[in-house]
């Protein structure tokens, strides 16, 4: 007897704007931190201690709880060679896995293509938010982008169920008959029918969902709730994407950073609680990343664009702990005034691809990268 293997899902949380890694996992045991950070810093007594050197920002209380249960892998000093400090470019590098040229497809898009080569499931990948992140884009891979799950689909602005049903039924007839025409009409017709099908499935998710967890009323919490709704509906979605921000804290950093992290951390904490309630804790993995870290030295109101970030991998089966050395704050070890990267972000992708999704890591991460141990290798029979 082989136990039925539940499909594993991956949830991406992008902290857009460049999260200040130094004020997220804080080297409070290093006097240099307080030397460099004259204003924009967290005092020792407020840090949530990991060990006698590092600790979480107090806004990450929920993540600290998960950490205490060994469900959080903290990857220090994440980056890539010749760091780029432009948001747009660096996000693109993270999304495509291509740090030199301009990448043509996203790493998650490639992962989805490996999982579902014929694009049979129109909702294998779903973004919660507006537009489609480049990470999900890949030719021939259908993905959906949902800003409001309950009203997702065609004609969301038509009031009244009857009117909308009537329009949708006419739509489906028109697109069905388009298949009888030329090639282009056939293609558009098929795509329209697929879109309708995907929307119908997705929209049913909230009705099937119930949970004791109450998510907060902010965008990241609501996105995590939508993800939980789709995940628990078990409709075949494997990759979920959402983002929160803006972490671009050139000024007013302490207030902004605290607010954003409280929202993000609590949303993830609630989500994991929700997964536990639905017995899915071991089937979901959350990756939290940001395009870059920020300068070591503050500018007295905030911090400017830097390099060397921190990433979290969270889940029931994660081997919790610290991965990679925390970058040194010594002046001689810095990279142009920034944290030096120790871990290529594509090592994370590679680990997730092979050990979590069970697909070819070199295709997903765009090359060969050493893998982390935050997930144990898949057991092959």
């Amino acid at each position: 007897m082989v136990a039925e293997v539940k499909p594993r899902s991956l949830v991406i949380v992008q902290l857009s704007g460049g999260n200040d890694a130094l004020n997220t996992v804080i080297p409070y045991g290093d006097g240099l931190y307080y030397d460099w950070r004259k204003e924009v810093r967290i005092e020792q007594d407020r840090v949530l201690k990991i060990n006698n050197h590092l600790g979480f920002n107090p806004a990450l209380r929920s993540i600290k709880n998960l950490w205490d249960n060994e469900k959080v892998a903290v990857i220090n000093g994440v980056g890539y060679p010749e760091p780029n400090r432009s948001h747009f470019r660096s996000i693109d590098i993270w999304n495509t896995g291509e740090s030199v040229g301009i990448g043509e497809s996203g790493w998650l898009g490639r992962a989805l293509r490996e999982i579902d080569p014929n694009g049979e499931n129109p909702i294998a990948g779903v973004n919660f938010g507006k537009g489609l992140p480049r990470a999900l884009s890949c030719k021939g891979v259908p993905v959906a982008s949902v800003s409001d799950l309950e009203n997702y689909g065609l004609f969301p602005d038509i009031q009244g169920e009857r009117s909308r049903d009537l329009a949708l039924s006419a739509f489906s007839q028109i697109y069905g008959s388009a298949m009888a025409h030329d090639n282009v009409a056939q293609f558009i017709g098929q795509t329209g029918i697929d879109a309708l099908k995907g929307a119908d499935i997705l929209r049913t998710a909230p009705a099937q969902y119930s949970s004791a967890v109450e998510y907060a009323n902010n965008p990241i919490a609501q996105s995590m709730k939508s993800i939980a709704q789709v995940l628990t509906a078990d409709i075949g979605t494997r990759v979920f994407y959402t983002q929160h921000g803006s972490f671009d804290t050139h000024a007013a950093e302490l207030d902004t950073h605290t607010k954003l992290w409280t929202e993000t951390s609590d949303a993830i904490g609630d989500f994991m609680e929700d997964m536990k309630e639905h017995n899915l804790e071991d089937d979901v993995l959350v990756l939290v990343w940001s395009e870059f870290g920020r300068r070591i030295k503050d500018n007295s109101a905030g911090t400017d664009h830097g390099s060397g970030g921190t990433a979290f991998v969270i889940g029931g089966t994660v081997n919790g702990g610290l991965y990679g050395d925390y970058p040194s704050l010594k002046e001689t070890d810095q990279l142009e005034g920034d944290l030096h990267f120790n871990n290529d972000f594509r090592s994370i992708y590679s680990t997730i691809a092979e050990r979590w999704l069970g697909v070819d890591p070199s295709i997903v991460s765009n090359g060969y990268f050493e893998q982390h141990e935050f997930i144990s290798p898949l057991a092959y029979n």
Partner: protein, 479 residues
């Protein structure tokens, strides 16, 4: 007015512009097809929403801290221009000389580049190529600031030949090197500082600074070059002159024109392996290019008046790009008469449909055709078009209600409603079975009544429903 004449002009309006309202089409038909072509080709005094108005209400659309703001300004121009062909030609060249934000990382030079395309879009192709080579955004995009006398960087030289003029297979690797040598020293001013600001995404302390072209004579290779069989101490201008004389250049540009204005071709990388859809048409465009000494306006005049363009075989044989779709829809609503808070979201919707101007997926621009259509993009296209066109309060909708009210009081035939709506939305020719399903929908949705005082709110919502459905048909996706 014979309806087929109007339908032909509607085809012209979709290709040489962004479609047109029924009123505009009737006006064009009144002066005749050829006169309409001439009118569209006259780009001497284009008018659009005042730049001052845009600057006043949307400061970021002129100063551009953000990457997308220049596109919002461009979208205003496309929606409000009285000279749509000029914007269409600008889109055309942007698609070929596709330059993207991820490497330039300063929206102002990208926006300046679009204005440059517009200025040279319909003149002598040589001038356009020279200005393109001097364009600061292009220089950074293709690394020409690193193309030095004693260590050439071939990137620009190669793409000039491969993507911007001749196409692969028509020159040697030596030609690429010699071409690159001729463009050494073509760089931007304050290169070190400007590159660093971009690399750091820095708009500090006082916002973005525009870029300017600079010729560094000390870094220019004045030596003799051998290019496409010719010898001389060529500089960039000389290279462009030689390129423009090539048959391969004429063919490559001809196929681009056909692909963009006449009917979808496969994506550019497949061109060396796949014959053109209409080889004879390509030959004719090539001839027009040489006959008119590289004058693009004359070439376009030839194309629009040609039999192959007018032929019904190529009507609707293009999938609208998101830029064309969004612009066309907003023009039909006739609601953009002043700067609007909501404008910013329209540009975003275009992005969600899969096209961010000044951010092509690669140096080869957008593939076009059916690659515009996937499930996510199609949902966005249909929802955007049906939401905007289905708003009952726009001037466009009001005109439609007046037309239906003009039918006289009483219940209006479902057939007639569909007819009027299709004409109203730019004279769309839908397939018979699409049409019958639309009529069926109108019948099921309940009668639309014209009372003495016009159409009531319920009636208007019902008409808006038909419009929404038409805006989401497969036919509406095509131009």
């Amino acid at each position: 007015m014979p309806e087929n004449q109007i339908e032909l002009i509607a085809h012209l309006a979709r290709r040489a512009g962004f479609g047109a309202t029924r009123e505009e089409l009737e006006e064009y038909a009144g002066i005749g097809y050829e006169a309409t072509v001439d009118k569209l080709l006259d780009t001497s005094s284009p008018k659009w929403m005042s730049e001052y108005l845009i600057r006043r209400y949307h400061p970021d659309e002129s100063s551009m801290l953000a990457g997308l703001s220049g596109l919002e300004a461009w979208l205003y121009r496309m929606i409000t221009t009285d000279t749509p062909l000029l914007e269409k030609m600008t889109l055309f060249w942007h698609g070929i000389f596709a330059t993207g934000y991820p490497k330039v990382l300063n929206a102002k030079p990208l926006s300046d580049q679009i204005r440059m395309f517009k200025k040279y879009a319909m003149g002598d192709f040589r001038n356009l190529l020279v200005e393109m080579a001097k364009d600061p955004a292009m220089i950074i995009w293709l690394d020409n600031q690193q193309n030095h006398k004693d260590s050439i960087n071939e990137n620009f030289g190669r793409e000039l030949l491969e993507l911007f003029s001749m196409g692969v297979g028509n020159y040697t690797e030596d030609d690429v090197k010699e071409c690159a040598r001729a463009f050494t020293g073509w760089t931007i001013g304050n290169c070190e500082y400007m590159e660093l600001r971009s690399a750091r995404d820095s708009d500090w302390p006082y916002g973005r600074i525009s870029w300017h072209y600079e010729f560094d004579a000390n870094d220019h290779d004045n030596g003799e070059k051998e290019f496409l069989g010719r010898k001389g101490t060529f500089n960039g201008e000389d290279i462009v002159e030689i390129i423009c004389e090539q048959e391969a250049t004429a063919r490559f540009i001809a196929r681009h024109i056909y692909h963009f204005f006449v009917a979808d071709e496969p994506p550019v990388p497949q061109w060396p392996y796949q014959a053109p859809r209409d080889p004879e048409a390509i030959d004719q465009i090539v001839q027009a290019y040489f006959d008119n000494k590289y004058d693009i306006r004359s070439v376009m005049k030839f194309v629009f008046n040609s039999d192959f363009f007018k032929s019904e075989d190529c009507w609707y044989e293009k999938v609208k790009s998101p830029a064309e779709l969004v612009t066309g829809v907003m023009r039909l609503t006739e609601s953009v008469d002043r700067p609007q808070y909501e404008h910013s979201s329209r540009q975003l919707r275009m992005q969600y449909m899969g096209q961010t101007l000044s951010n092509p997926p690669s140096v080869e621009g957008w593939d076009g055709g059916t690659t515009w259509i996937d499930t996510g993009a199609l949902v966005e296209r249909m929802n955007f078009a049906s939401e905007e066109l289905g708003r009952v309060e726009t001037p466009g909708s009001n005109e439609l209600f007046n037309k239906i009210a003009f039918e006289g009081s009483g219940d209006i035939d479902a057939d007639r409603i569909v007819d009027i709506c299709l004409k109203h939305l730019g004279t769309i020719n839908v397939k018979d079975d699409t049409r019958s399903k639309l009529v069926n929908y109108v019948s099921k949705n309940g009668v639309i009544k014209v009372e003495d005082q016009g159409i009531d709110e319920i009636g208007k919502e019902k008409i808006a429903g038909v419009v929404k459905l038409i805006a989401s048909t497969p036919e509406f996706q095509r131009a």
